[in-house]
């Protein structure tokens, strides 16, 4: 090892398995069992990051998810951004780089911000970059402050997966409390899921030198897992973070390394009967001058590097603490051969049991570190009395700090369970649960090993209804502390939140400017935001606010903890449900035929893939569409109308049910006959237009527009089940039980005859808006005379298994008549020529049937139907209405859909807009439809379209129907 920071022995690393990796392009070696952070420290790399706002040099501070300073971007196959280096397991060939520095870590242009830092306090960006607007500044600022870039490609090796999980008890955390809890509930026979975020189970036991029941604590961990994993009712997820707590005990758990080589990550959505949060505690830092310099670390992290990874993060250490736990760290450092210069303890009285474990180390009681000295690495620290006075300079290259412990209450708090402030521990503890949840171990304030084990056992026994098991003997140093929110005599910048670069001065500024609520302080200073979520700094921020305002901690309160607890890949949340897997397309049986014909396919409502047009060689959209339209108008065409929503309604009360749903009368229909109708909602909105056919006394077919089929299904069921539950009506969706070929055009009857049918096709026997069952081309069929093109039409419905055969026979029988397949584009042109409305074009939330010239569809006879009263009230108003008209552009040209109409084409308030404009093959010119104020009385007048840019197009106002206004063709 280059810098020789690796200890000769010890730790849970495998020195026989060296791993090669690069950081910022430079090659290093570590061992199996290392994290990127421990391997960097072992290689003597101290400067590992630049800070978010000031671009100050930063090193590694923590040893786990709490790491606030060193975020890295992984490259290559592992590409992902913003990972704390402490949570990246070292693998062969790993390539990582630091975020927040440009052009390089050692020479960071942004570091000029440090010189200007007194000019960029909290809220600086809000105040400064607002003229003329923030977006002008956003991009360069985001680049300067940028965290890692998102990978441009999804990972190539493997995929993400999601799955559901169910259990009686979910335990978050496999430290001593979580394992004791798991053992207790599993032995009681409950279905248990235990998830732990570490690469290895054991929690704090991995980095401390403790015994349980007289043997090494990690042996107890192994034995416990041996028992748990032998039980069929236990699911153990390792390297899996429980990061989100939703309502009704629904939790999100992401496994980062599932035991399947093709899986990148797997997210579980777990519904748990009960949850135990055994999530441990996170050490908080201390707040003194330049407390962010590389070499200033959390004491617990130093302990982890020495004991778990066999790395000495420095050669000469000073400890700064306000509590007992750092004494064990000093003892472990000394045992590993690191020189401990002194322990500065802010408490005037240091407990004897703490003193007892650090023989020979100088203890400076009642003293504080006021300043860390050195820029890219600390060289020394200044220690002075709490109240000030002359400082003693201690040279060192490592400062291990401990400001006490914060139970990890993130999940507890996400569940909306409350917290209370605890004076002896000077932190917030779980209080009243809002869901079936318990907290155990350090997460519940049990900060010594014996207490943690007991707490886990008791929480679990209460859920299982058993008596708690005996707790093995587990000696630990008693915990005692005195809060120290900040060192009053600190010199230099004193950071509260390293990740967001928030200092004590920033908090004071926010308070001075009136942001006194802690939630406002958070937003104004950004302290505790981002994925740090207040892991290391929050309590010190709250303490600083409390001190400044003379309030008690519980009067200040905490900010809201939000999911995710740790960063989660988007891919891991979505799993396989991306694009068409999440939202599949719907196809009819002739998709392959359409594609073979070279159809241009696209979505045409409700995820149906339909042919837009069938271009021949050299044809564009317009030429192909014109050709298909001419076939329908002058010969014969056929389209696949299968996607139209189709419902079969059965029962004695269908007639009056339809009378309630539709604005016109349906109950009077005779069997075999059909009627077009409008469906309104009770506020008068036109929800849908469609056609009802009565098959026999108690059997009806309702067809809706393609795009609204699902919504209308819900609407019908709602009305039936909630308003008329006693009515005898059964609704069955049969959209996919029927497919059809709709043959339309003047020669449609001849094609039908050529196909061969036992149905009498004469207009007298089979008139417009009737339905007949029979056979067509030898296939059982239901033929409907309905027309959406304005031409003579036969909608030939067959079962889906016959659709391809029918289609082939129609094309064959139609060939002598020049039949052409017709796509959505031609259908659009044909309906505009006829002035038929299309929901979403001519119908929006403001339009009623009268505006459309369809007042006849609003029944006067029926005393009540959905929307009747609302439309009545609306029409009593004096406001002018926009009414449906036809428009003929003069001169002849196309008008973009949606183009506004203004009085005289002047730059004034619009009086309507063009809803559609198509090339008419019957008139051989452009024709359109528009909604125009007072339009019904303005036929023959000229109105004006005003385009963006001021161009004005005069249009002649006409009736909406441009073709066959009397309907002779479609009735023929």
């Amino acid at each position: 090892m280059a810098a020789g920071n690796r200890l000769a022995a010890g730790g849970r690393i495998d020195r026989s398995k060296p791993l090669h990796f690069t950081f910022n392009g430079k090659a290093y070696t570590g061992f199996q069992g290392d994290t990127l952070a421990s391997a960097l420290l072992a290689n003597g790399v101290r400067l590992t990051a630049r800070s978010f706002k000031y671009h100050r040099p930063r090193g590694i501070v923590g040893a786990g998810v709490e790491e606030p300073a060193t975020l890295v971007e992984l490259m290559g196959d592992d590409a992902s951004g913003n990972r704390p280096a402490t949570t990246v397991p070292l693998t062969e060939g790993l390539a990582a780089k630091a975020v927040n520095c440009w052009p390089s870590l050692a020479f960071d242009i942004g570091a000029v911000n440090q010189l200007a830092s007194r000019f960029i306090p909290a809220g600086f960006y809000y105040k400064t970059f607002k003229w003329p607007n923030w977006h002008l500044y956003e991009r360069p600022i985001r680049k300067a402050a940028g965290l890692a870039a998102a990978p441009s490609e999804p990972p190539s090796k493997g995929h993400y997966e999601t799955r559901y999980g169910h259990c009686d008890v979910l335990i978050a955390g496999a430290g001593p409390a979580g394992l004791m809890a798991a053992l207790t509930v599993a032995r009681a026979g409950l279905r248990v899921m235990i998830a732990d975020e570490g690469c290895e189970a054991g929690g704090s036991l991995l980095s401390r030198r403790l015994t349980i029941g007289g043997t090494d604590a990690m042996e107890w961990v192994d034995a416990t897992f041996a028992e748990l994993n032998a039980m069929p009712n236990v699911t153990h997820l390792q390297n899996a973070t429980v990061w989100g707590y939703r309502e009704h005990n629904y939790l999100m758990v992401t496994e980062r390394a599932p035991a399947n080589p093709s899986l990148l990550e797997r997210t579980w959505r777990v519904r748990a009967g009960h949850v135990i949060t055994a999530t441990g505690a996170i050490e908080r830092g201390l707040v003194f001058g330049n407390n962010d310099r590389p070499g200033v670390m959390l004491a617990s992290a130093v302990q982890a590097y020495v004991n778990r990874y066999g790395v000495a993060p420095g050669k000469r250490a000073v400890i700064f603490t306000n509590n007992n736990s750092a004494y064990a760290v000093a003892a472990d450092l000394a045992a590993a051969g690191v020189e401990v210069r002194a322990i500065a303890d802010s408490r005037d009285a240091v407990p004897d049991e703490a003193r007892a474990i650090v023989p020979g180390i100088e203890i400076m009681a009642g003293k504080c570190v006021t300043e860390a000295q050195g820029t890219r690495q600390i060289r020394s620290v200044a220690v002075a009395a709490k109240t000030g006075g002359s400082a003693r300079i201690l040279s060192c290259d490592l400062l291990a700090m401990s400001g006490g412990w914060n139970p990890t209450v993130h999940l507890w708090s996400q569940s909306r369970s409350t917290l209370r402030y605890d004076d002896p521990l000077a932190t917030f503890l779980p209080d009243t649960p809002a869901q079936p949840i318990s907290a155990a171990g350090a997460a519940n304030g049990a900060l010594t090993l014996q207490d943690a084990l007991r707490s886990g056992a008791e929480a679990a026994a209460q859920i299982a209804g058993t008596t708690p098991p005996d707790i093995p003997d587990a000696p630990d140093l008693p915990y005692a502390m005195e809060p120290l929110w900040r060192v009053e005599t600190a010199k230099g910048k004193a950071f509260l939140d390293l990740q967001n670069d928030v200092t004590v001065d920033d908090i004071h500024l926010a308070l001075r400017e009136g942001y006194s609520n802690v939630e406002h302080v958070k937003r104004y200073t950004t302290g505790g935001m981002g994925f740090d979520q207040g892991k290391t700094g929050n309590i010190n921020i709250i303490g600083t606010v409390a001190l400044a305002q003379g309030l008690a901690m519980d009067q200040v309160g905490t900010t809201t903890f939000r999911a995710p607890y740790t960063p989660v890949s988007f891919g891991a949340i979505g799993g396989l449900r991306e694009e068409t897997v999440a939202l599949p397309y719907r196809h009819t049986p002739i998709t392959e035929w359409n594609l073979a014909q070279g159809a241009f396919m696209y979505e045409a409502g409700a995820r149906w893939r339909r042919p837009g047009y069938f271009p021949r060689a050299g044809e564009g959209l317009q030429e192909a569409t014109n050709r298909e339209c001419r076939a329908v108008r002058f010969g014969v065409g056929v389209y696949d109308g299968s996607p139209l929503g189709t419902f079969e309604l059965k029962g004695r009360d269908v007639g009056r049910f339809l009378d309630y749903l539709y604005s016109n009368v349906m109950s009077s229909l005779k069997p075999g006959n059909g009627r077009y109708g409008l469906m309104l909602s009770d506020d008068g909105l036109i929800m849908d237009d469609g056609v009802c056919f009565r098959l026999d006394d108690h059997r009806w077919i309702v067809s809706t527009s393609t795009g609204h089929a699902d919504a209308i299904n819900g609407h019908m069921e709602e009305m039936l089940q909630t308003r008329f539950p006693e009515w005898n009506v059964f609704i069955t969706t049969v959209t996919s039980q029927w497919n059809n070929a709709t043959i339309c055009g003047p020669k449609a009857r001849e094609v039908m005859a050529a196909l061969g049918t036992d149905i009498d096709l004469s207009p007298e026997a089979f008139p417009f808006m009737t339905v007949r069952d029979g056979t067509v081309a030898g296939l059982p069929a239901r033929v409907v005379r309905v027309s959406f093109t304005g031409e003579l039409s036969f909608e030939v419905n067959v079962a889906p298994r016959h659709m391809r055969a029918l289609w082939a026979k129609v094309m064959e029988a139609g060939a002598p008549f020049g039949i052409l397949p017709v796509g959505s584009e031609a259908s659009h042109v044909l309906r505009v020529e006829k002035g038929f409305l299309s929901l979403g074009h001519e119908v929006d939330g403001t339009v009623d049937a009268y505006d459309l010239g369809m007042g006849w569809a609003m029944s006067k006879k029926k005393s009540d139907y959905l929307g009747k009263r609302a439309v009545q009230i609306r029409r009593e108003g004096a406001a002018p209405r926009r009414e449906l008209v036809g428009v003929i552009p003069e001169p002849d040209r196309q008008i973009p859909e949606g183009a506004p109409l203004t009085p005289g084409g002047r730059r004034e308030k619009t009086e309507g807009f063009v809803t559609a404009c198509v090339w008419s093959v019957v008139h051989e010119r452009w024709v359109g439809l528009a909604l125009l104020e007072g339009g019904h009385a303005r036929h023959g007048e000229t109105a004006h379209v005003r385009l963006k840019g001021g161009e004005v197009i005069p249009v002649r106002v006409t009736a909406p129907c441009h073709y066959d206004p009397d309907g002779d063709k479609l009735r023929s």
Binding site: D682, Q721, R869
Partner: protein
């Protein structure tokens, strides 16, 4: 994700349901109420801080429309379709 008790299928994930809005008072006879009363019924939807009765459609399940009482502060389902929790 809430867990909604369906009277036919038992407790199911919210993702199987479609929200049907709060339950309004019974629809008045539109020909027998004043414009004001009708408009009020049409547009004023209960939105209490606390328990509200609301409709859900088990669209990706059995298709039933059901009502529950849900506390808008906590998402607790304080009364299920069968009257229980």
């Amino acid at each position: 994700m809430m867990q909604i008790p369906c009277p036919f299928c038992g407790p199911r994930n919210e993702s199987e349901f479609s929200f049907g809005g709060p339950v309004k008072p019974p629809r008045p006879d539109p020909s027998a109420v004043s414009d004001e009363d009708w408009t009020a019924w049409l547009t004023q939807v209960p939105n209490p801080l606390g328990p509200v009765q609301e409709q859900w459609w088990h669209v990706r399940g059995c298709g039933t429309w059901l009502t529950i009482w849900r506390d808008t502060r906590t998402h607790d389902i304080v009364e299920a379709p069968d009257g229980g929790r």
